[in-house]
């Protein structure tokens, strides 16, 4: 169902349009700078063609496996089902370096899986594929589960009455709903893989590279010709994504389906389903579990005796609070002005170019701004831009669903925008907004690249401190800090799960 808003009083429209235009202008200026300076060498294109198949293959595998897991969870009732669903969301927001450490614990040269299978699982193309899949399957699974739970109940009923099972059930009942999402998901996962840096460089063992690894390397050694060439391709791809995504509408969830498949739907054997769920869960969660198990042997209290820890905790906290607040504010506006959604979504893809080329632009134009005096301010803006896409993906459909039934009524009543924001949007979706707030907060805690560039001794968030400890051979403190960060994530995530659960309860009460 197409869902279009007409605001009661479009006062914010101008302000939000301006914000979007500034962002677009940013694109255009960076794009112009890149075009002017690019040498148009074939290296970038060769790199693109070399890596495209691996990225595409991993994206397809992530989507297929994500769907299988989502379907098994949807049709199976088991203890801790809810916990498993929420845990999948934790995997989506973990800092990438923590995930990589976990993957190496299990699949690395001395990892359990490598020893069990007696083969080298990481530091090659397989390692990159493993990293991509383990990182993206939870995302695909969560998205598919949401779609499955929103297939109208009567469709399941008709399918069942017609005796559909297996492929025919998939083809006639499920397919039409998931195909749109699958296309978007494939695009997004493809680009997430494409912009991946650490996974490709570390788990690829140096034998695999992509546009982003080459982009960062070229930046590090000052090969600016290559930076511009690769930036050009990234921006073209970002624009292509923008174009492709904007062809589809955001799918609003109509709360018409089953949270769990009813008994009349045909299902494979219970033991088979449970086995698939257990195996896939073990594959996905073993890296995080390994970090926790290894962490048990650490003397975690040493980190609490370090004065720098509290300074960095404070820095991380206030930056994260700002980013989370701004993110939620913009998502609220996106909820109203959905046509701008894709501008922000595409920012997630071109962000590395956008950030680094913005730096080059400042150098090129010698702007009379003391950029670093306002480092935290710029960090907040840049991190917000990188956080919005994922958070919007996670909460925007549910938000639109929550307010769907009330928007028309509010229009008829001609209520003011502020009443609308408070009585409709806030009261109906505050838990979702808070959940989004916590996700943004968590994502900011795990951000490093932007903060590494903009931080200094008086502003050193936790990830920068982690890098410092590692740089000083203090791997013991780094391990402890990583564990503390993971625990903070688990606490935030538990809060998110609680809120999300409560939101669902509220929604059902509304029904």
């Amino acid at each position: 169902m197409k869902f279009v808003y007409t605001l009661p009083k479009p006062k914010f429209y101008g302000a939000f349009s301006l914000l979007s235009i500034i962002l677009l202008l940013g694109y255009i200026v960076v794009f112009g700078l890149v075009i002017m300076n690019a040498s148009w060498s074939s290296y970038g294109m060769n790199l693109l063609l070399q890596t495209i198949w691996l990225t595409l293959l991993c994206s397809i595998i992530s989507i297929v496996l994500g769907y299988i897991l989502a379907y098994m969870i949807f049709i199976t009732n088991f203890i801790a089902r809810s916990l498993l669903i929420q845990m999948l969301r934790l995997l989506m927001i973990l800092p990438i370096m923590l995930s990589i450490v976990g993957i190496i614990n299990i699949y690395g040269s001395n990892g359990f899986m490598a020893k069990f299978l007696d083969t080298q699982l990481v530091y090659n193309r397989l390692g990159v594929a493993l990293g991509f899949c383990l990182y993206n399957i939870p995302y695909a699974c969560s998205t598919f589960l949401l779609i499955l739970q929103n297939i109208p109940q009567n469709r399941w009923l008709i399918g069942s009455q017609l005796g559909m099972r297996g492929f025919s059930l998939f083809r006639h009942v499920i397919w039409s709903d998931i195909i749109k999402t699958t296309k978007n998901l494939l695009l997004i996962i493809f680009f997430l893989c494409f912009t991946s840096f650490e996974i490709v460089l570390i788990l690829g063992g140096g034998k695999v590279k992509n546009l982003t690894t080459e982009f960062y390397t070229a930046m590090s050694i000052g090969e600016f010709e290559l930076v511009y060439d690769l930036g050009l391709i990234q921006i073209f791809m970002g624009l292509a994504l923008l174009g492709l995504l904007s062809m589809t509408n955001i799918q609003s969830l109509q709360k018409r389906g089953f949270l769990i498949a009813p008994d009349f739907i045909h299902k494979p054997s219970y033991y088979l389903r449970i086995m698939i769920i257990i195996i896939m869960s073990l594959l996905l969660f073993s890296p995080v579990i390994s970090i926790i198990i290894k962490g048990l042997s650490l003397d975690i209290f040493t980190i609490f005796k370090q004065p720098q820890f509290y300074d960095s905790l404070w820095d991380s906290t206030w930056v994260s609070l700002w980013v989370a607040s701004l993110t939620i504010f913009i998502i609220l506006l996106l909820c109203i002005y959905r046509k701008f959604y894709y501008i922000f979504l595409s920012m997630g893809i071109v962000f590395p170019s956008y950030f680094l080329l913005s730096m080059l632009m400042i150098i090129a134009f010698r702007l009379k701004i003391d950029f670093f005096a306002y480092g935290p301010f710029f960090a907040i803006i840049l991190i917000t831009l990188s956080t919005i896409p994922l958070v919007a993906q996670m909460i925007l459909p549910s938000m639109i669903t929550s307010i769907h039934s009330d928007w028309r009524l509010s229009m008829h009543l001609s209520i003011s925008i502020f009443s609308w924001l408070y009585h409709i949007l806030w009261l109906k979706t505050w838990r979702l907004l808070l959940a989004g707030f916590l996700i943004s907060f968590a994502l900011t805690l795990g951000t490093y690249s932007v903060l590494a560039f903009l931080s200094n001794d008086s502003f050193k968030p936790m990830m920068a401190l982690l890098a410092d400890y590692m740089g000083r051979y203090r791997f013991d403190l780094a391990d402890q800090l990583a564990l503390v960060i993971l625990l903070i994530y688990i606490i935030l995530f538990a809060s998110f799960s609680f809120l999300n659960h409560a939101q669902k309860d509220d929604s059902h009460a509304d029904d």
């Binding site: 001395n110 140096g206 003391d370 670093f372 890098a467 791997f475």
Partner: protein, 305 residues
């Protein structure tokens, strides 16, 4: 009139008493609480009656250079630019006008002064058989190494310094030895400590850290017959400096024995002055042959793409 004179006298005395200020750019590990430059800055402040502001960049030499370029106010000194990167920063700095000290290596540069150095080396476990040359390493693909990106770490120059025109071919052969390549030194070293490889590329002085703070001799550097890449950290006077004389005084202090004795345990590099090294450093084996970047071939890093 008397009031005016009093105010003028007060202003004059205030300006005379105003402290001079030095603004120093350096990477984060040099400027944090335990960092070498931070310690030097505190000590120098006591001597010069001046104020030192440290501007840290938690990034590589190249990003440190970009950071200076992005600062419209400019500063006085940059510290920590590796010798590989000095050409990128040449336009930002000016002649130091200091007589070059008697360095333990060949170093003559009108703009950049070396303040510490170290050799790149592969670190392995004490007790295991370590290769004694690159040739031996290449012959034993079962010896797995963890490298930092050769284009950003000096490893590329090391290999090129040994093999010259054959670098590309040797790099291809070395692929069999490579367990993984990481974005930074710390990622590489962390993986090595998790036993993910037999050798890690680091500094020849790394075992001194384990000896000094963990009282452990578990890790040693493999000394290669072909020689080791010499990594030199430099400092320079920025063109934007408002207090060049004070900056030169700072350089003189940094190069003094008093300051240089801090290098070993603060930065785990070697001092450029002849100072007594701590016990943990005296245990180290040092190479007999040094390899330096060949300035004639700026495109050499493209081999490692």
């Amino acid at each position: 009139m008397r009031k005016l004179l009093t105010i003028a006298a007060l202003l004059l005395s205030m300006s005379a008493a105003a402290q001079k200020e030095l603004k120093i750019y350096a990477y984060g590990l040099l400027t944090d609480d335990e960092g070498l430059v931070n310690i030097w800055a505190k000590e120098f402040e006591k001597r010069c009656d001046c104020k030192i502001t440290l501007i840290a960049s938690n990034a590589s030499s190249s990003q440190l250079i970009q950071r200076i370029r992005m600062d419209p106010k400019g500063g006085d000194i940059v510290m920590g630019i590796e010798a590989d990167y000095i050409e990128q920063a040449r336009d930002l700095v000016t002649h130091h006008k200091i007589s070059t000290p008697d360095y333990p290596f060949d170093w003559q540069d009108p703009e950049f002064l070396a303040f510490d150095y170290g050799w790149l080396s592969f670190i392995g476990k004490n007790g295991e058989t370590l290769p004694s040359s690159f040739a031996q390493l290449l012959e034993n693909p079962e010896i797995k190494i963890i490298l930092e990106n050769p284009r950003t770490s000096g490893f590329g120059y090391w290999l090129h310094g040994i093999y010259g025109d054959q670098t590309k071919e040797k790099w291809k052969r070395l692929q069999k030895n490579i367990r993984t390549i990481t974005p930074s030194w710390s990622d590489a070293y962390s993986l090595f400590l998790k036993d993910e490889g037999n050798l890690v590329m680091s500094y020849i002085t790394s075992p001194a850290y384990h000896k000094e703070f963990e009282n452990s001799e578990d890790y040693i550097a493999a000394i290669f017959d072909e020689g080791h890449y010499l990594q030199i950290e430099t400092m320079a006077l920025l063109k934007t400096s408002k207090n060049p004389e004070l900056a030169r005084d700072f350089f003189r202090y940094v190069l003094s024995k008093d300051a240089q004795k801090e290098v070993a345990l603060r930065n785990f590099m070697l001092p450029v002055a002849d100072v007594k090294l701590p016990q943990s450093f005296q245990w180290l084996k040092l190479p007999e042959k040094s390899i330096k970047k060949q300035p004639s071939d700026p495109k050499i890093l493209e081999i490692f793409r």
